[in-house]
Each structure stands twice: as structure tokens, then as C-alpha cells.
Symmetry: C2
Subunit: 476 residues, 2 copies
């Protein structure tokens, strides 16, 4: 075990070791939340053709220049232009075509008169709607009275006015939300090249753990960490697989991790990392040289590409996992167990395991410790795997309002993370307040479940009085 | 078509018509993000038994009251208490048991000495870790020197100290995030009763629409709305099903919607709601009396319970869909098509369809209009279906910074939603800035994809100058 690390140094070390996942081609809707790795060029213009922005009549602007309520211009209606209609009538002088929003501007016309500025072909006064074609096909013929003039190009959307064919629709690095996915669809893309969501295997360790729903024997507790961490991994954007708790046996644990590697872009364990005589995670992972979990493959091996592609079941694999393309060999480093200058979460293990150098986070087993560790180290790493900014939690300054007047204490030299409930600033206030919930005990899951923020007590602070300003990390 | 509605009145009308979905029992990890509908009582105490908060030695505090570096107290080690170990040795006077974090406090002991305050059984000075039991089983016997005293109950976590058996672990109404799911697991719950995520069927209408990936013919465009709306529904927490675009034919559309009802808690269409002659959504849904989509079932019918339970495929249905329990008859109301005093998004249809009164949102077809309509009306409704607060988007005051110095205009009497990019307040500033991107045209998907905020221009505002303060809705 090395010396004591600061929170910042440990995080920096984790992030230095984690590289974004290799991109894959995904169907549009499967790429939501992912980062684009290519500049996407528009293969068509948006709009692809001049089209009407109104339901109305396509006309020649010159023909209706003198139209007014009192002296409407009468045009002959030569047909309908519905969106998607195959044939488009020619609009000669003195003529009009009924045109729908989004439908192509027919040849000869240079403007659109909204239906509300016409009699809609009824022969009466202004109307505010067209009769449905299915109910009254005669609307596509006859005459229309136009009550107001339009300018040339009025109510016409120009071809390419939103985006020209060949231009960059979205740049590499864009995060794909609903609007970006819509733009990709609009330029005709069915699939897109992105960094995939990481597949995270979560497992608790401990012979005392019983699956929820089963009765507890003496000295037993229900496994909760694997549920917290699986949910937290999903909240961070990962595809998470929860594995049932593993008993405190180093050989078993190593076998389970080896088995899970085929579907893992990251592995998160909890428990077994401290100074006890049964801390098997530390025992199982401290020296991996010569084991299947050890790194250090020969540099020429093609096995390097096996990880994400070769799990055999095709699950979560996209159509194109870069088979056969030689990647630079991953950095290899063993799993190191450290003491961190933080509370909770002092003991932490981190390293890269297996031939593909999969990041493994060995988190402490106390429920609050493992959750706080996930937030501080695993969540940023999962985001880095996706190519996202590792830091995404909103942090705010807030005034601490303890429930009683006794000052809170914090150990010198350690960064403490208290659980709190945050209240945004009241009207006229600049900063909000945060109220600690529960004590500092790292087993207090009940209080954690009432918290929506982590209060950050800096290393040098040993006492917090009512009204002190601290930073709070806002949780979902 | 009724008269003009304000944005607020339309939203209020939608929310009045939408009732939270009936609760179902879901596995813990499937309930993430859902609202609990029951008070969950702890069936076990947390912790379930007195246990150690440290790796160390369980002792009688009186035995080590005079321990010091110079004069350590020597105790006989009677065995190990690992977490989950079956047998627990008695700790008599002058004795100690090696105990691990989380393991039960053995009978006779009343405190724990951390291993760092002992020689770890080595016979030497203070140690900072235990030897692994697997490597050195002798550590469970022999003697240990204790260098510091402990108080009674020190480093002992009291049974029930976090939560007592029988107490409320989580109250009805709690939203289940990682910590709450963890607490439910800890008290032994494998499943939990929540309001499920709504299943939303999304379909675009329009004969001009071509699926992305296929070539465009003349006058055709790629379907993008169904992609935007499916992604937006997922971002809102729904389970969304995208249906391929339906051509402009009222009978076909009605059939597709009827078919989709079995898997729909809400239906979202786009297009076909304006004043054109081919606006088939309006045509298909305006009068549903006597059709399968009409409401108004006889009040005694058992068919009311069919919707979510009876789709026959079991998909998305939990183990307990309240079969056979009589629910109050749903309100029935036809689909109404309205003009809203907003831009974009003027034409909107909303109603309840089918025997289960499924909310149907008929959104306008312009890409920006349909997206903005979703944000304003559908997202709040989907949240209401889940039992969540309908309003969840963060809104901020921001200074408008147009790219050029010409003032922006907005139609009087309409609430306008401009697309913008938001910059949070700089240091020392109280509010951030928002820069409009693209023009007001509701077809400008390219600009929408560069926006991260909607700028809200109130109904009475007709001009916006640089530096004016407006509200901005922050999007994901």
C-alpha cells in the first residue's frame, strides 16, 4: 500500500489512465447521449427544395400586386400541391396552385398567399381554413379570390436556407440530444459513428451479503452496494450489469472478474479493500502478474482487439466494432490500493486489468463510502470513456445550516463529504443553504437516501459553524 | 376549431386531463427514476446487529482502560469474527477477538480497538494492517498487545442506529435514485410499488416523409420529427416506441393509432394539424364518436382495465398490473384542435382516445414547432403520468445578446420561443447571457441543433434590444 493520496491526485491519476472507448456505428436512436466522432456533412440541402411555409396558394407575386379586400384578384386554380405529391402543376400567369406547408413551390410561382388572405375558393369572403381535399376535391380547381398582395419569395422557404448540401451539419465532438438526432435524420443518416456507452460490471464482495428478498441469517446483511452502484452507473450514462455478491474468497473473486471481462468496459467492486484479514479484493488483485487479469501482453498480439468485439454474443456490440484494425497497445498497470485523504472513502483500489486494460475500481464497502467514491472517481471516469467532460455535477456555494447549534467537526488534512439537503437561494439571496442530514458515519444509508447534495469540507477546515459557506455538489 | 388559447391555459387543460398511471410492482433496478406509491417500512433494523466500524479487536473496554504505548495491555485472541462468519467466539475478561468492519460485535465485548492501535498479534510495535487470514491463519489466535484505551461502545455501530425495524424507510412520493434504491435493498426489498414509466408511441405523418437512410425522391424529405420526439420522450423518462411515418390518409392513420393503443400510455403525432386540405390528423381525429378511438364506454364495463394489462404480450407489464381491480372510469374527451397564442407551435391537437382514455398529442409538423410543443406540453404531461412534478426544466433570467445590433421582433399577443445558447453568469455577474441562434423560422432544424435554451418572449413584448432581460428555459 502506497502513501496517502489527495482526492485530486487520485482523480487525476484515474483520468490519466482512462482512454475514450473506440467509436462504433450506432443506429440514430441508440446514439442518444453519445459523442459524435465524425464531422457529419449534409448529403442533402435543408430544405431540399423551395417550399411553402404556409397552407395557401402558390402565385406569381406580380399577378396579385394590386389585390385588396375591396378588389380581390381572381386566379384560376390549376391543381393541388400537397407535401409529397408526385406531380406538380405549372403556375402560368393568372393562375394559382393550392399549396400546403412544406410542399414544393410549383414551377412558375414565386410566392405563396396564405389561405387566410383568400376566399379559399368559396367565392365568398376571407376564410381561415381549407376544406379537406378528401371531403371536397373540387377545391383543387375552380377560382380563388386573393385579398392581399404578397412580395416575391414571401412565404417561400429557400432550398438550403437552413443548411446547404455539403456543409457540416454537426461537428465531431457534438453530444447527441433530441435536436441533434433530428438533424442527422433530416440529412438522411440512419446510423452514426459515436463513442458507445461503457458497459460496467458491478459486484459487491462479502460473505455476509444476502440478496434482497431473501431472509437474513445471523450476522448477515442485505447487499445494497451493488444496487446503488448499478443505478449510479446507469444515471451516469453507462450500461450496467449487476452481478450477485461474491463471497470473501480471493480465487472465486478472481474467477468472477475474469469471466465478466468479456462484457466489461469498466469493473466496479465494493468491499474488501481495507486493512482487515478478510479483505479479499485487495488480496485477489494486488499481484496480478502471471494471471489472466494481468496486463502486459506481447505488443504484436492480435488479441488486443478481442475485448469489445469478441464476446461472441453480439450483445451491445454495434454493427462495426473496428474488427481487425490495429489499435495502439493499452497502457498496463496493476491494481494499486491506496489510502486517500478523504472521509468517507479512505481505502481505494484502482488499476487496469486483463488484456484490454479494463479500468477496475475497487471501492470501499461501507455504503456511503462506496457511493461517494463512485461520485468522485467512477462517474468522471465513465464520462471520460464516453468522450464527455468528466466533470458534470453542478457545484454551488451554499451556507451550511446545521440542525442544532453545535459546530460540526471535520478531521484535519482530510477532505470530508457530508450528506446534505440543498435549498436554492430565496428571492433576493445570492446563495442557497445546505443542511447536513445524518451523522458522518459511513454506514448511514438512511441519511444518504434523504440527501440531495454532498457538502465538501476542505482539508484545512476542522470546524464548521452555522452560516459558514462551503461548496455543495448537487446530486440527481 | 375553437378560439385562441394561451400557452398557460392549454398546458393547464392538458394537465387537468392527465392522471398518474396506476402503480405496478417492479424489480428495484427497474424502478429507477420512478415515484414510490407506498410507505416502505424497514422489516429489519439497519444495522441489523451491533457491529464493528473498524478492522481491529473486539474487547472489553475495562480491560484496556490503562493501555498505553509504553505499557500495552496483552489480551488472548480467541478467534476471528469476519463479516458473515457463522460462529462468533465469546470474549471473556482478558480476551479479545479479531473483528472485521461490519462483523457482529461478539458476546462479552463492548468496544473495538482499531488494528492500528495494536501490534496486530505480531509481538512487535504498532501495525497498520492485518495479515490476510488466508496467508496467516495464526492471526486468529495467540496474543495481541493493545497500545491505547477505548471507551465502551467505541467503534461499535448500534443495531438500529441508522433505522429501526418497523420505521418508515422511505415515504410514498419519494423518487427512487441510486441511494433510495440502495436503502430499499438494505431493508430487504427485491421489488417495490411505483408508478411506471409511460409507454409513448411516436409517429410522424406526411406523404412526403422518407425514412433516413433511404434516397429522397422529388418533393420528399427525410422524417426527422419521429426521431426528435422519440429521443425527447426518452429524455423525459418515458419508454418510447417510434413508428414509421404514416402517409396522409385519414383511414390509415386511424388504423395505425388503433393498433398502437395496446402499448400506449400516450400517443404523440406530428404534422397534419393545420388549416391545409391534407391535414389528415385533424381530419382523422376530429370526430371519433362511434369509432374504436372514441371514448365513452358504458360505465360498468370491465374492459376499462384492459389497456395496460391486456396487451397479451406481457411486454413492459410488471408482475402486478392491478388486474381485476375496478378503477374509476377515465374521463373521456374528444381530440380538440386549437390555435395557440404562441410561435412556433400555433396549431395543436389534444384529447383522450380509446377505451382507456389515452392522452393523444397532435403536434404541428414543422420540426421546431413539434419540438417546442413537446417541451411545453408533452414533457410535463409525461412527468405527470409518472406522478412527478410536471415542471422540471430549469429556467433562468438572462440578458439577450443578439449577434447583430438590429432589434429582434416578436408578434404582439403571442408568446415566442426563440432558440438560444446560454452562457452562465461570469464571475461577479448576477445573470448570464443568452444568444439567439438562427431565425424564427420553424423549419430551422440546423439552428435548433445548436441551441441549448429556449428564450421566452412574453406576449406583450414586440421588440427585444441587446441587453434586455428575458427568461430562458435550459434544455438538456
Amino acid at each position: 500500500m502506497a502513501g496517502t493520496w489527495t482526492v485530486d491526485d487520485h482523480l487525476a491519476d484515474v483520468l490519466r489512465s482512462v482512454r475514450p472507448l473506440e467509436p462504433i456505428e450506432l443506429h440514430l436512436l441508440d446514439a442518444q447521449g453519445c459523442v459524435l466522432v465524425e464531422d457529419v456533412l449534409a448529403s442533402v440541402s435543408l430544405p431540399p427544395f423551395d417550399n411553402s411555409s404556409m397552407d395557401g396558394y402558390a402565385v406569381r407575386a406580380d399577378d396579385v400586386a394590386k389585390a385588396s379586400e375591396d378588389e380581390p384578384v381572381v386566379l384560376e386554380v390549376v391543381g393541388d400541391v400537397a407535401a409529397g405529391s408526385g406531380t406538380v402543376p405549372d403556375v402560368g400567369p393568372g393562375r394559382a396552385a393550392r399549396v400546403m406547408t412544406g410542399a414544393p413551390l410549383p414551377p412558375g410561382a414565386d410566392a405563396v398567399v396564405p389561405v387566410e388572405w383568400t376566399d379559399g375558393g368559396t367565392g365568398g369572403g376571407p376564410v381561415d381554413t381549407m376544406a379537406a381535399h378528401s371531403a371536397d376535391p373540387s377545391g383543387a380547381g375552380g377560382e380563388v379570390r386573393v385579398h392581399r398582395p404578397v412580395e416575391a419569395r414571401q412565404y417561400v422557404r429557400d432550398k438550403g436556407g437552413d443548411l446547404r448540401a455539403g456543409a457540416v451539419a454537426l461537428e465531431a465532438g457534438t453530444i447527441l440530444g433530441p435536436a441533434q438526432i433530428g438533424l442527422l435524420a433530416a440529412v438522411g443518416r440512419a446510423t452514426v459513428r459515436v463513442r458507445p456507452r461503457p458497459r460496467v460490471v458491478v459486484l459487491s464482495t462479502g460473505s455476509e451479503l444476502v440478496r434482497p428478498g431473501l431472509p437474513l441469517g445471523p450476522g448477515r446483511i442485505h447487499d445494497s452496494n451493488s444496487y446503488v452502484l448499478t443505478a449510479a452507473a446507469r444515471a451516469a450514462g453507462a450500461i450496467a450489469y449487476r452481478v450477485d455478491a461474491v463471497a470473501d474468497d480471493a480465487t472465486t473473486l478472481r474467477t468472477v472478474i475474469e469471466d465478466q471481462l468479456v462484457r466489461a468496459d469498466a469493473i466496479v467492486t465494493s468491499g474488501g479493500v481495507s486493512v482487515g484479514a478478510y479483505d479479499v479484493v485487495k488480496e485477489a488483485l494486488t499481484d496480478l502478474a502471471g494471471t489472466a487479469l494481468g496486463g502486459g501482453l506481447p505488443e504484436e498480439s492480435d488479441d488486443r482487439d478481442r475485448g469489445r468485439d469478441g464476446d461472441g454474443d453480439g450483445h451491445e456490440d454495434g454493427p462495426d466494432r473496428e474488427k481487425g484494425r490495429r489499435k495502439p497497445p493499452p497502457p498496463t498497470r496493476s491494481v494499486e490500493f491506496r489510502r486517500l485523504a478523504m472521509q468517507p472513502g479512505k481505502p481505494q483500489g484502482f488499476g487496469l486489468v486483463g488484456p484490454d486494460a479494463v479500468p477496475l475500481f475497487a471501492l470501499p464497502g461501507n455504503p456511503v463510502s462506496s457511493y461517494v467514491s463512485f461520485e468522485l472517481f467512477v462517474r468522471p471516469a465513465l464520462r471520460a470513456l464516453m468522450g464527455l467532460d468528466p466533470a458534470d455535477r453542478r457545484t454551488v456555494r451554499a451556507r451550511v445550516e446545521p440542525d442544532d447549534s453545535a459546530p460540526l467537526t471535520s478531521p484535519e488534512g482530510k477532505r470530508q463529504f457530508l450528506r446534505g439537503r440543498y435549498e436554492p437561494p430565496a428571492d433576493g439571496e445570492e446563495i442557497g443553504t445546505v443542511r447536513p442530514v445524518g451523522g458522518p458515519g459511513s454506514h448511514l444509508l438512511g441519511s444518504l437516501a434523504r440527501a440531495d447534495a454532498l457538502i465538501v469540507v476542505p482539508e484545512r477546515t476542522t470546524e464548521i459553524a452555522r452560516g459558514d459557506e462551503l461548496e455543495a455538489v448537487l446530486l440527481d
